[in-house]
């Protein structure tokens, strides 16, 4: 992020409006990134929970395997110590349950860190937005007042002539 300092009071109304729109867009972008990160994290947490259900006692138990969302075939758990984990870009790794759990924990931690990085940026954006809005409002009010004054002055000169 470029640390450029802009003097808000040096901008005119149009520039301020543009700036506030830009900040709005940035806020939207960061908010959607944040929710995407949360969704991804949720998936990892779910997988981790599922691993928690697999234990040595479940070995050989009956399961129903979904072939489609509405059709199942019966099966038996044959291996409860290893699972296949998708680590991205099409690679799957056979891991012990304990390692897989650690894998998901790492992923969850990683995402938490990313979210923690994003949060202050978002807050900063909100603050900037507020500052811009305040200056913008002052500007608009000042302009309105100036307009009224010039009207009043014009009315007075008009009255003086007649």
């Amino acid at each position: 992020m470029a640390a450029k300092q802009i003097d808000l009071s040096a901008l005119n109304i149009q520039q301020l409006q543009q700036l506030s729109q830009q900040i709005d867009q940035e806020i939207e972008f960061f908010t959607s990134s944040l929710s995407q990160l949360k969704m991804a994290q949720q998936k990892f947490v779910e997988s981790q929970d599922c691993l928690g259900r697999i234990s040595p006692e479940t070995d050989g138990k009956d399961v129903l395997v979904p072939l489609t969302s509405s059709m199942y075939v019966p099966g038996k758990l044959s291996d409860v110590s290893n699972v296949l984990v998708d680590i991205g870009t099409g690679y799957y790794v056979e891991q012990e349950v304990e390692n897989a759990k650690q894998y998901f924990q790492r992923k969850v931690d990683y995402l938490t860190k990313q979210m923690e990085k994003l949060q202050p940026i978002l807050q900063d954006k909100y603050r900037t937005k507020q500052a811009v809005m305040e200056v913008l409002q002052l500007r608009v009010q000042a302009q309105l007042a100036a307009q009224q004054q010039s009207y009043a002055a014009a009315a007075q000169t008009g009255a003086a002539k007649s």
């Binding site: 296949l84 680590i87 991205g88 870009t89 690679y91 799957y92 790794v93 056979e94």
Partner: protein, 126 residues
């Protein structure tokens, strides 16, 4: 005179817009490469954690094909290198395009200025 200027203005504007389009294309490609690089580095990190005898599979279409761990590591490393190279290439192109954009913008401003002056002159004569 004014007509020629207008043609030049139009031509320059079209060129500027073409460059702008190119620029946007490269910027978004660059972002995509960044995402890919990120994903591949995460995969590499995971592969590096594995012990030597681990079973690694590669998804090819709908099938999982068993792969050698060392081979998988090499492939991912190669991909990371390739993507890094691509990112550098894109960055250079983006810089070039930025410069091009600037010169086009300057030209545009100049022509626009001339055009306005010509118009003012024409108005004064009329």
């Amino acid at each position: 005179m004014a007509e020629g200027l207008q043609k030049r203005l139009q031509g320059e504007l079209e060129k500027y817009q073409a460059v702008q389009k190119d620029y946007q294309k490269y910027v978004s490609a660059r972002q995509q490469l960044d995402a890919q690089l990120n994903e591949n580095s995460l995969v590499k990190e995971e592969l590096d954690r594995l012990s030597d005898g681990s079973n690694v599979y590669k998804m090819i279409g709908p099938v999982l094909v068993k792969q050698d761990l060392g081979e998988a590591k090499q492939t991912v490393q190669k991909r990371i290198d390739y993507i890094s190279g691509e990112i550098k290439r894109h960055e250079n192109t983006i810089k070039d395009l930025e410069k091009k954009q600037e010169t086009h913008r300057d030209n545009l401003n100049k022509i626009q200025h001339q055009f306005q002056q010509a118009q003012v002159k024409a108005a004064a004569r009329a």
